[in-house]
């Protein structure tokens, strides 16, 4: 029996850790086209901003692979999988046999076709090497940056760049920043904070052309405006990194389609993380949920099943915890109501600059958005997961000091005393 994992990020960690809980014998091979041991993608902005150094980028100890008896093939790209003969083909021609395969290739940056996007100093913002290259450009004198996309990673890039002393303009097609996790009111709070620190926003427009003589000099926007720029960062989003599997018998929709055991349509082949399309429990549909905890959980579930222990994961839904300067927010589930039967609870305390908004459906929480009032938010996340009926306590949910005392004694004790399992 031999386990092979393509990809070496958090989904792979989940898989390795689950396998080793139940199988301490059989070999695991991890293949990654990146040369680093497992590091944190979300930390690249912290690295660029100077908050963490290279040693803190790694999410597991140095002896992780050794301890878990994992053989790594780093800096090698899988270029094809021969599902019939059960082998992964690498870019140097090597063939790696597997008995159980996990595809955990994550996401790759999406760059819309743009004139000039091949120019020097045009970057994406996904990998460690991306920020090392940006760092290099800054050290070589880059002063003005244009970030395309005001989503989570675009704004994290902008925050890091402004901390490095650059002039930063963020360009966003939508009418608000962080459109995937915030409503208009909430995004205003965050935008104010970012503007206070000097970030300039151009909303409802996008990039038309990157101008320069082989190297970025200016960016022309769709609204006609032209901005000076030394670097451009594309951070519009990620798409599943599965091109090398297209055209095979593997079932792919937007991502690799998996069931709640992370099994694909091909026997002994599993997928997890940003490359996989699993069930979203809140939206009640198959979706790619490109976030860290989901990738870990899916990888872990795959690992158990690969090692022969039947486990299911059917409680995936989007959730985010993110901060910019002094503004912190946690959001989960539905953040833009998608049907009429959703009840909205909201409290915006302008003085304290806090915002809490909760969506309920049939007496149950299906989503929330908390800004600057995030303590104990996990209790609400868990209520979504459990489908807990909050009808009798619903207005307490908006209060900052919501806690176990708001629950009936039996339930509270069950959760605390028995709830050590979670």
């Amino acid at each position: 029996m031999k386990y092979v994992i393509i990809g070496n990020s958090v989904a792979a960690c989940g898989c390795i850790e689950a396998i080793r809980k139940v199988d301490t014998q059989n070999p695991i091979v991890v293949i990654s086209d990146e040369k680093y041991r497992v590091y944190s993608r979300p930390l690249i902005s912290y690295y660029l901003g100077g908050k963490v150094d290279e040693s803190k980028m790694y999410i597991r100890d140095e002896d992780y692979y050794e301890k878990n008896m994992v053989e790594t093939k780093l800096g090698k790209k899988a270029v094809a999988v021969d599902f019939k003969n059960k082998e992964v083909i690498l870019d140097d021609g090597e063939k790696v046999k597997y008995d159980k395969l996990l595809i955990a290739t994550g996401g790759k940056p999406f760059i819309p076709p743009t004139k000039g996007s091949e120019s020097k100093n045009v970057f994406t913002f996904i990998k460690f090497d991306d920020v090392k290259a940006i760092d290099e450009a800054i050290k070589n004198g880059a002063k003005k940056a244009v970030v395309i996309g005001a989503g989570l990673s675009g704004l994290k890039a902008a925050e890091a760049l402004i901390k490095r002393g650059l002039d930063v303009t963020v360009v966003e097609l939508a009418n608000r920043i962080l459109g995937s996790i915030l409503d208009l009111e909430a995004s205003r709070i965050v935008q104010d904070e970012l503007e206070k620190h000097g970030i300039v926003f151009k909303l409802e427009t996008s990039v038309d052309e990157i101008i320069g003589d082989g190297k970025v000099e200016r960016v022309k926007l769709k609204n006609g405006e032209v901005l000076d720029a030394d670097i451009v960062v594309f951070a519009i989003g990620v798409v599943p990194n599965i091109d090398f599997l297209k055209g095979t018998e593997l079932k792919i929709n937007r991502g690799i389609v998996v069931d709640n055991r992370m099994q694909t349509n091909i026997e002994d082949v599993y997928a997890a993380g940003d490359c996989a399309e699993g069930y979203d429990f809140v939206f009640e549909q198959q979706r790619v949920i490109p976030i860290w905890p989901n990738a870990y959980n899916q990888g872990e579930t795959a690992g158990y099943n690969m090692a022969g222990v039947q486990k299911t994961f059917d409680r995936g839904f989007p959730m985010n915890s993110i901060g910019f300067f002094d503004v912190h927010m946690i959001t989960a589930g539905i953040v833009v109501p998608n049907s009429d039967d959703i009840e909205v609870l909201v409290k915006h305390d302008k003085e304290k600059n806090t915002y809490r908004k909760i969506y309920l459906k049939n007496g149950r929480v299906v989503g929330f958005m908390f800004i600057n009032s995030i303590d104990r938010a996990g209790m609400i996340t868990n209520m979504i997961k459990e489908g807990f009926n909050v009808e009798s306590i619903k207005h307490r949910l908006l209060d900052e000091d919501f806690g176990y005392l708001d629950l009936p004694k039996e339930i509270r004790q069950e959760k605390i005393l028995g709830g050590a399992k979670a």
Binding site: S40, K56, S321, A377, G378, I416, A420, K421, A422
Partner: protein, 155 residues
């Protein structure tokens, strides 16, 4: 499997001494057998923000119910799976700890912890949570609760 601390709300008097001992036990002034009066003498305000206890006494005005809650050291800890740095991790003895040097204060653990047991630590830099008094051998809150409202058990 880790030991866990269980609060007994029926006898908790809401005195918050567990919080005081917790702060003390995690300060640089800690002494294994400190008594309350020594603790008052020893503790010097040393940071620009108030130290955060890793235990949380829940109480609401208008109710008599109080109890002290801390990390459950979950068997299947969601905080470790959500942590983007690897700071929140399980030790071999089963306890869940936060490596505060590594933590970047992203609060993914707060988003994930079903009990609301992670707090933002001093200066809101790193996550602060119960480590079952790793350095002392025995949790200061359990040892010092005047009414034995906290109990440590292997489950």
């Amino acid at each position: 499997m880790a030991k866990k601390i269980f609060p007994k709300e029926d006898v908790c008097v809401g005195c918050h001494l567990c919080e005081v001992y917790c702060v003390y036990a995690h300060s640089k002034y800690k002494k294994p057998n400190a008594k309350a009066h020594e603790l008052v003498k020893l503790y010097i305000k040393h940071k620009d923000s108030k130290p955060t206890p890793r235990i949380l006494v829940e109480e609401k005005s208008g109710t008599w119910t109080t109890f002290a809650l801390q990390c459950r050291h979950c068997d299947d800890a969601p905080c470790t799976k959500a942590c983007i740095t690897g700071a929140m991790k399980r030790l071999e003895d089963g306890r869940i700890v936060c490596d505060e040097e590594k933590c970047v204060g992203c609060w993914s653990c707060i988003m994930a912890c079903p009990h609301g047991a992670v707090r933002r630590g001093e200066n809101k830099k790193a996550a602060s949570k119960c480590d079952l008094c790793l350095d002392l051998g025995e949790p200061a809150c359990v040892k010092n609760c005047p009414n034995e409202a906290l109990e440590i058990k292997e489950v």
